[in-house]
């Protein structure tokens, strides 16, 4: 069932078309990744959802409600550029942000303290924001997006600037929220996170939505006749080989498309015969990064001499 729907959304800043007729849907209960390079239009799209920027045209609906104050009160929003009142105390900050979402009282205070404990900030409860480390400030900001018990979390570049331990902490919280039936939408340009966490994605490039759907379907559709390969050695002999349709270099791995199902076995034999050290050979598999670069990074998809 669709929870959030964006229809034909457009926004220009002067000559620049930041978002160009973008449409995608986010199903109930999903962890949704809005993927794109820097400047692809992710943040603009999210700001339009939050009613911070008005779209030139198009509409946004969440369970039948249009974008606006009512929708906003159901959202926990973490903007890409984080900001808190520097002179305000941690607990006061959390309570203030809950209050402008319409939640206050003892319950919220108790919940705030619980979250602070979970994020190991109990002893900083009465510290001023400016006295916290950057990582801790991020945690406070993250708690402030959760405290009012939103139905949907919109997190712009959630993992930017987080250390691995805090990244894991956030991941756990997000997965926990998913089990409670919350919808989580986050934007990122880091494909490895998205691959591990998302069940639905949309890929945006130059303001246009290139792809939208369930991760497993997208992968199934694109992974046929694809071999994801990690290796040591020289595979230039594969160039212009009759079984090969294309070779794409993604840096970490190489994606090789073959013409027929039986060619996959032939390819493996060819590699072994040519004394290539095969580290990973995934048949009928494709990484999100490969899909992403195929769609977005045109300049990288040319077959290169490898």
């Amino acid at each position: 069932m669709i929870a959030l729907e964006l229809k034909n959304l457009s926004k220009s800043f002067g000559e620049l078309k930041a978002v160009d007729d973008a449409s995608f849907t986010v199903p109930e209960g999903s962890i949704f990744g809005l993927l794109g390079r820097n400047g692809a239009g992710k943040t603009t799209t999210i700001r339009m959802m939050m009613n911070i920027i008005m779209p030139d045209s198009g509409e946004i609906k969440f369970r039948g409600i249009e974008a606006g104050p009512e929708f906003n009160s159901k959202v926990g929003y973490l903007p890409e550029e984080r900001g808190l009142y520097k002179k305000m105390k941690v607990l006061d900050t959390l309570l203030f942000f809950a209050e402008i979402k319409g939640k206050k009282g003892k319950k919220i205070r108790k919940l705030a303290k619980e979250y602070l404990e979970k994020f190991e900030l109990t002893d900083r409860m009465n510290s001023k924001i400016e006295d916290l480390s950057k990582g801790n400030q991020q945690k406070v900001q993250f708690i402030s997006t959760l405290l009012h018990d939103p139905e949907i979390l919109i997190l712009d570049e959630l993992f930017s600037g987080l250390d691995p331990i805090n990244t894991n902490l956030m991941k756990d919280v997000i997965l926990d929220l998913k089990t409670k039936g919350k919808i989580i939408l986050f934007s990122t340009h880091v494909m490895s996170f998205a691959e591990k966490m998302c069940d639905h994605i949309a890929i945006i490039d130059h303001g246009k939505i290139k792809l939208n759907g369930a991760m497993n379907e997208i992968k199934a559709e694109r992974s046929r006749l694809n071999v994801s390969l990690n290796y040591d050695g020289d595979i230039s002999f594969l160039q212009n080989h009759p079984i090969i349709k294309s070779i794409s270099n993604y840096g970490n791995s190489v994606g090789i498309k073959v013409n027929e199902e039986k060619d996959i076995q032939t390819l493996l034999k060819l590699l072994v015969d040519n004394k290539i050290v095969v580290k990973k050979f995934d048949a009928n598999d494709i990484s999100l990064e490969e899909i992403f670069i195929d769609l977005v990074g045109k300049e990288d998809t040319e077959v290169k001499h490898v």
Binding site: S73, P79, E81, K86, F96, E99, G102
Partner: protein
């Protein structure tokens, strides 16, 4: 307009402002500071110019003895702030004498020489020689006694009885009465004048202070990006309303604290104030003053908030600030001009015009009786100004607060008004 979001914003603004050290200090120190300034000024003006030695040279012995009789009795001679030496010399001898004394005058040993020539009996023209000839305080002291002596000398040959002379010598003594519609005619003191001066000054200071404080806060929220978090929960209109009302309430509270002494002076007999400096205000007037101030804060803090939203750092904001500062300063100067003549036509217009009415009307009311319909009309003008400003400020705020990067041109800001929001 005042939903839970705006209330939460106002609450935060009040918490932040009222509990800040700056607020407490400013509220307590400003009265001390003002009394200090007035005190220092009065003190400086009354410092006896120690040992001003002057010589008064007359053309005749009779004049000399008469001068001595009068001048040596003056208080400024008795407290030795002025030490006069009175001599007689003919006009020819005086020229020479002046040459001799030149060095004394230049070195400051002697502050000045006054010469009363014979012709003074006809045209009352006397001469003053000094290194600093424009010492009005000194001349002000000495001119009256000399005038008196010359007059006596002139009339002594004309057989005029002493009483007549006494009458001629007397200055006009003006006692002012304030005419008001509902009360008896009363002798008017300086109270109204002091009050008017005080209100104008406090209004002026407070409007600029609160305005620039809010402007700084807006710039800061914008530059540290908190505004985006806020805008995901509240609309820009709510945010602006919260900020402006937060500041306005703080300002009124501060003003009330400042006015407590005035209210006490006016309504109690706890203070020994000379009758002529008595302040005549009613609670209704105080209530009007505070309400008027509240409207003023809404208008000017609104404008400052708008300017703050356009710019990303305080330096750039300077260029947007001065037109608003002018809107506060010009009315302030008009108020000050009323001390000369409370009924001047510029002040009459300014007390009814948008923006200036906020500052000029209360100052005017403290000095002259303004009919009630004029007060109501000017208040309506102010309320209309608030309603005219809010949508404009709101639109600019909406776009400005989210714009970043280079400093926008004014032509661009005007275009923001046409944006579809």
């Amino acid at each position: 307009m005042f939903n839970y979001r705006v209330k939460a914003l106002i609450k935060r603004e009040l918490q932040e402002k009222l509990l800040s050290k700056a607020f407490v200090l400013m509220t307590l120190l400003l009265p001390v500071f003002m009394i200090g300034i007035v005190g220092v000024q009065t003190l400086l003006m009354n410092i006896p110019s120690e040992g001003n030695t002057i010589e008064i040279i007359t053309y005749s012995d009779t004049l000399e003895s008469k001068l001595k009789d009068i001048i040596l009795e003056e208080s400024f001679v008795k407290d030795s702030s002025l030490i006069p030496t009175i001599k007689t010399l003919s006009e020819n001898d005086f020229e020479k004498y002046l040459d001799e004394k030149e060095n004394d005058l230049l070195s400051g040993q002697l502050n000045g020489i006054i010469f009363i020539p014979k012709s003074a009996l006809k045209d009352k023209k006397i001469k003053y020689y000094s290194k600093t000839p424009k010492n009005f305080r000194l001349l002000e002291k000495i001119d009256n006694p000399i005038n008196q002596v010359l007059m006596e000398q002139y009339f002594s040959s004309k057989n005029i009885p002493m009483e007549e002379l006494e009458y001629a010598r007397k200055w006009v003594d003006i006692t002012s009465f304030k005419i008001s519609e509902d009360e008896d005619v009363k002798e008017a003191g300086y109270g109204g004048l002091i009050l008017s001066y005080l209100f104008s000054f406090l209004l002026y200071l407070s409007l600029l202070m609160m305005g620039s404080m809010v402007m700084q806060a807006v710039i800061q929220e914008k530059s540290n990006r908190i505004v985006e978090v806020l805008l995901s929960s509240v609309t820009s209109k709510e945010l602006m309303t919260g900020k402006i009302f937060g500041a306005a309430i703080t300002g009124v509270l501060q003003m009330s604290i400042w006015l407590i002494p005035v209210i006490l002076v006016a309504s109690t007999t706890w203070f020994m104030i000379p009758q002529e400096a008595m302040i005549d205000v009613t609670f209704l007037q105080i209530a009007y003053l505070l309400f008027n101030f509240f409207l003023g804060l809404l208008i000017f803090v609104g404008l400052f908030t708008m300017v703050g939203s356009i710019f990303e750092n305080p330096q750039d904001a300077q260029s947007g600030m001065w037109p608003i500062m002018m809107l506060v300063m010009i009315p302030f100067f008009i108020s000050m001009s009323m001390i000369e003549n409370p009924d001047n036509p510029v002040a009459n217009i300014a007390s009814m015009a948008p923006f200036s009415a906020i500052i000029v009307m209360p100052a005017k009311m403290a000095m002259v009786d303004v009919s009630i319909w004029k007060v109501i009309l000017s208040t309506l003008v102010n309320i209309a100004t608030v309603f005219a400003i809010f949508p404009i400020a709101g639109k600019i705020f909406r776009v400005g607060i989210m714009s970043s990067g280079r400093k926008p041109k004014w032509s661009e800001v005007v275009k923001w008004l046409k944006y579809k929001y």
